[in-house]
Amino acid sequence: MDWGWIVDNRDLILELLIEHIWLSAIPVVIGLAVALVLGVLAHTYRWAYPPLLVVVGVLYTIPSLALFIVLPVVLGTQILNPLNILIALTIYSGALLVRTVVDGLDAVPPAVRKAAEGLGYKRLTRIVTVELPIAIPVIVAGLRVVTVANISMVSVGALIGIGGLGELFTSGFQIRFVTEIIVGLVLSLLLAVTADLLLVFLQRKTTPWDRLGATA
């Protein structure tokens, strides 16, 4: 390990780390928003779910590097535009989270649904104010998978010029400099662990009623 290099390049490393964070975080947020809308729709209009699953499955099957390259053609963006990475990761995040949202809503106990109906909740209000909160643990489980996957996938973008910490892998590889690669790996892993812990914390805060059940 060349510790001197790390000290000398701390500004560059920090800049790449920050780029990495927003490249992986923004898609999770937008992907979740899209997945919530599509998931609630698919949960309500059941016939729409199987075809949606097919589309989502195909999207998820496309390898990330391929999607990074195909998107500029579809969107008309430049290949070096970070938007390509953001949109590609949003597609993956949304594709995975749609299933999670529907699974979460399906797992709401029928008795709860009936009780809400009995109290006079209209369908949409019931889903948003009763069923979605109960589905939070399932949705957060999906969010954790998506976030960690995004953090590791952003690096692939380095192969086409934008990849946050992934740029440490490509430049370290080109000049055969192991320290640079290890710095990238360690920071990437730390970022994933931190994001994961943050989501667990958020879940605890948003579902106080779940804590008794969780510890039992």
């Binding site: 391929a66 797992a107 994961d196």
Partner: protein, 243 residues
């Protein structure tokens, strides 16, 4: 632009020779098949063991989580820098990434088997290996297949990235094309590798359909017998497969 790519993809010349599509697809499949085979031989027995005995679950969960957050490009560049250019280091890295999904799905599948069924099998006098092979494995099979499917997707995608540090595979077109800003070539590579992933996924879906016992195909039949208008299927078992 799409027309150009189509012309490039369908030109007979693009398919022949050592940089032709046929050779590159074959190389890609070699990477995928090699890594999957080794990963399966390691992860499947281990998953069965962990699932059946319920021992080592925390170790498995942590290993799976850690490897999920491991950036494949970082792993590839590191492995190649340490062990030199060639196919073997890439195969090692691909295998490392293919193990967790199979391991995770196998032990989760076996653990998730209805305890009533397992105890009934024991009560009928089945030995532990019989319980595992004749009860737990058949019931866990859909999840095992889903693990193999996500491992396959992971390997196809990572084998593309591997072109950056190694030889061959469909990633060649993407990496080499980017180096000289030859977008037709990049797009052709991207299209072929996506197609390959989709075809392999469909093949595995078919294999699942053929090998899984008809008694385990749940959702439709239950609807007929249930008095509720829309019963909750509650099939959360599919969730952990993603990665």
């Amino acid at each position: 632009m799409i027309g150009d790519v189509w012309a490039y993809l369908t030109a007979a010349g693009s398919w022949q020779g050592s940089n032709g599509f046929a050779v590159r697809i074959f190389e890609h499949l070699q990477y995928v098949a090699g890594a999957l085979l080794v990963a399966f031989l390691i992860a499947f027995p281990l998953g069965l063991l962990i699932g059946h005995t319920n021992k080592g679950v925390t170790v498995a969960v942590n290993a799976v989580n850690a490897s999920r957050s491991l950036p494949s490009l970082g792993l590839l560049t590191l492995v190649v820098l340490f062990s030199g250019l060639g196919r073997a280091p890439v195969l090692v890295a691909l295998t490392v990434l293919a193990i967790p999904p199979i391991l995770n799905a196998t032990y989760a599948g076996v653990r998730g088997v209805d305890k009533g069924a397992v105890n009934a099998a024991r009560g009928m006098g089945m030995t532990e290996p019989q319980v595992l092979w004749q009860v737990e494995l058949p019931v866990a099979l859909p999840l095992v297949w889903s693990g193999i499917r996500s491992a396959t997707l992971q390997t196809v995608a990572t084998a593309t990235i591997a072109a950056y540090v190694a030889l061959g595979g469909l990633g060649r077109y993407v990496i080499d094309g980017f180096a000289v800003r030859e977008f037709d070539e990049m797009l052709a590579g991207a299209a072929l590798v996506s197609l390959l992933a989709i075809v392999l996924d469909l093949a595995l879906a078919f294999a699942t359909h053929v090998s899984v016992s008809p008694g385990l195909r749940e959702p439709r039949k239950r609807r007929l017998t249930s008095p509720l208008k829309r019963p909750a299927p509650g099939n959360q078992s599919t969730a952990p497969a993603a990665g």
